[in-house]
């Protein structure tokens, strides 16, 4: 009887490479996050003190969902709209970079990333100047006579842009654009040019080539972009504060207020976990659909 081959032993070094990152995540992310669970089920001993006592108070979740459910839904809706608008802008841009960018590709990608190098807060404030009542964007809109139409479409409110949901969506879209463009470009880069040549050889016109070849093969990039933008958008605190009004507040603003102003840490923890639960569901759905292998993360 021939001796069975000795199973090949995998070297341990991949785990060693992973260890620092895993340790970082465990200590500075997972453990504090787990700490939110007992906090959300606790009650403060006093209004201004730090001590809380664990009472297994599940009712807090019902209270925050009842009180802040509409804000939560608004946050998800705003994030979805900003992501959708971002995809509409990012897809043609990524296509252009991939198929027409040629030797300028690195420069074009650099230009997409460039705004991210400035402070997030300063960018939001810059947008508030652009969108202000006497700012250049409204001047152009009114100069072109588009004010009435955009008011009718709900883009403007009372003839203004700043402190409306439109401004928040525009600010978010601007912030998210690099996270949408980069995975799309990576995804498009992976398309073998011979597939496009084959499609052309088979008499596919450009539209058919896009529909049958480019679009299906770029979908992993779309999915990755969706994950990378929808999740941070839902938890954004800066854009609604500087570009929105009181009717555009998002859930992160509420959490901040609960924690820093109302000093209701258990409620803030519960709302944070609800938000995390919802965004985690989006991630899980995506992973279940496509798996990690399909994600062309840059």
């Amino acid at each position: 009887m021939p001796a069975s081959p000795k199973p090949e032993r995998r070297p341990p070094w991949p785990w060693l490479l992973l260890a620092p990152g895993l340790l970082w995540l465990l200590l500075l992310y997972l453990l504090p996050l787990l700490g939110l669970v007992p906090l959300s089920l606790s009650e403060p001993l006093s209004r201004f003190g730090l001590e809380t006592v664990f009472r297994g108070r599940v009712a807090t979740y019902g209270e925050v969902l009842g009180a802040y459910g509409p804000v939560l839904l608004r946050s998800l809706r705003t994030a979805a709209l900003a992501t959708a608008l971002g995809l509409l802008l990012a897809y043609p841009l990524a296509l252009w970079i991939r198929f027409r960018g040629r030797r300028w590709q690195p420069l074009l990608i650099g230009l997409v990333v460039l705004p991210s190098l400035s402070s997030y807060l300063v960018r939001a404030i810059a947008w508030s100047s652009l969108l202000g009542d006497n700012g250049p964007v409204l001047a152009i809109i009114h100069g072109l006579g588009l004010g009435g139409m955009l008011e009718g479409l709900g883009v403007l409110r009372g003839g203004r842009l700043l402190n409306t949901s439109t401004a928040v969506i525009l600010g978010l879209t601007n912030s998210l654009l690099p996270f949408l463009v980069l995975p799309l470009v990576v995804s498009l880069q992976r398309i073998d040019p011979r597939l496009l040549e084959a499609a052309a050889d088979l008499h596919a016109n450009p539209l058919a080539c896009f529909r049958r070849v480019v679009w299906p093969l770029s979908r992993p990039g779309l999915s990755a972009g969706l994950l990378l933008s929808l999740i941070p958008a839902a938890g954004d605190v800066v854009n609604p504060r500087f570009l929105g009004g009181p009717n555009e507040r998002m859930i992160a603003n509420t959490i901040e207020n609960l924690l820093l102003v109302q000093l209701q840490a258990p409620r803030a923890a519960a709302l944070t976990l609800v938000l995390m639960g919802l965004t985690s569901m989006v991630v899980l759905l995506q992973l279940r659909r496509g798996g990690l292998e399909e994600l062309p993360l840059p």
Partner: protein, 380 residues
């Protein structure tokens, strides 16, 4: 007011100012490190609201520089308090754990100072080393937040009222109701400082704000909520209403007297008025957080800013109500500042003072209830 302050407001806006202050904020968030937390033996660390002192100008050093030069004390003046409640949230973990802050002095609004005193998180001031405390205005002695005057000395007082741009409104405003004029829909803001916004609305309802009750506030809460829902109120703001007022995003708002007085130097169309129904009077106070180590240096500073000539310099810059007696005469004697001495917002007479009200105390439970209701409107 210094040129640099106006430029900062115009060019960057207060939000950008906040961004620039981020390193200071982070610095101030650092945990205390025992008795020498503030730095060396000759260092004094003080936290205050932004743009609340005279700055350096060419050939005319501001109060901080002159104090450093003349006393040899290394004053580190941090403009890191944008909102008293958020600052409280930042310092609470350390003070609750019995650890000192790095700050030796902090400027906080009276109701927040009262909270810290009640929690036992404030040390008595070294008043025996502050002979100039005798210059404290009699109207600010034995105040409810510190009846024996052991823990606080006022920094400045001010008035919350209506600020507006006469060119944009097309008419003078004089009533709180004017803020709810449909012609101004979406171009009006109110303050996130609950006591000022609610106080003005309650006064307009004919309620007594010196003894605020939940029942008496309901009309004001409902009116505010409706105005927010209808889009009448564009924003709830901190200091950042100034930028919106200057750039024309707002035509009218609830604002603070000194801010508007300063902005009006360059924008004469900006006005500030105490509404017919009355204005809200507030005071920002200097206090020593528990465990502050530089008591001698703090006493030097307190004595310095309570010297009338120094106080007059600060008052001329910030244009709030100085707590120091003798400031008015000094301003009146100088042609460059004589107009300020006649300002009813800086020196309200007895009749004007009768129109100003101080928001009364709320106990812990009531305050939590009010804060939650107010947040349900501002953070809905």
């Amino acid at each position: 007011m210094t040129r640099s302050r106006r430029q900062l407001l115009r060019q960057l806006g207060l939000g950008a100012g906040a961004a620039a202050l981020a390193p200071l904020l982070l610095q101030a968030c650092r945990p205390g490190r025992g008795p020498a937390a503030g730095g060396g033996g000759n260092t004094l660390v003080m936290s205050s609201f932004p743009l609340y002192i005279d700055g350096d100008a060419p050939g005319a050093p501001g109060s901080i520089s002159r104090f450093r030069r003349e006393t040899g004390i290394d004053l580190r003046y941090l403009e890191d308090i944008n909102d008293a409640r958020q600052f409280f949230a930042r310092i609470r973990p350390q003070l609750a754990a019995g650890r000192p802050l790095r700050q030796d002095l902090v400027v906080l609004t009276s109701w927040m100072a009262q909270r810290l005193i009640a929690l036992g998180w404030v040390d008595p001031l070294p008043l025996e080393q502050v002979p100039n405390q005798r210059n404290l205005s009699p109207s600010l002695r034995e105040m409810p937040w510190d009846p024996k005057g052991r823990f606080t000395l006022p920094w400045q007082s001010g008035i919350a009222g209506i600020a507006y741009n006469i060119k944009a409104t097309g008419r003078e405003l004089s009533r709180v109701d004017d803020l709810f004029d449909p012609a101004f829909r979406g171009r009006v803001s109110a303050l996130l400082e609950m006591r000022d916004t609610m106080g003005l609305l309650m006064l307009a309802d004919g309620q007594d704000v010196s003894r605020p009750t939940w029942q008496a506030a309901q009309g004001a809460f409902q009116r505010l909520e409706k105005a927010r829902r209808d889009g009448q109120i564009r924003r709830f703001t901190g200091n950042d209403y100034q930028n919106d007022l200057v750039t024309g995003n707002l035509v009218a708002c609830i604002g603070w007297s000194g801010d508007v007085a300063q902005l009006a130097i360059d924008q004469p169309d900006l006005r500030f008025v105490v509404p017919d129904s009355g204005g809200m009077l507030w005071a920002d106070l200097m206090l020593m957080p528990r465990g502050a180590s530089h008591r001698r240096e703090a006493a030097e500073w307190l004595n310095w800013v309570y010297e009338p000539r120094e106080a007059a310099r600060i008052a001329a810059a910030v244009q709030y109500i100085s707590p120091v007696e003798g400031v008015r005469a000094i301003l009146a004697a100088d042609p460059a500042t004589a107009a300020l001495a006649a300002s009813p917002l800086m020196f309200p007479d007895a009749a004007e003072r009768r129109r100003l009200h101080v928001f009364g105390p709320l106990d812990e439970q009531e305050e939590a209830r009010w804060e939650e209701r107010f947040a349900s409107i501002t953070e809905a």
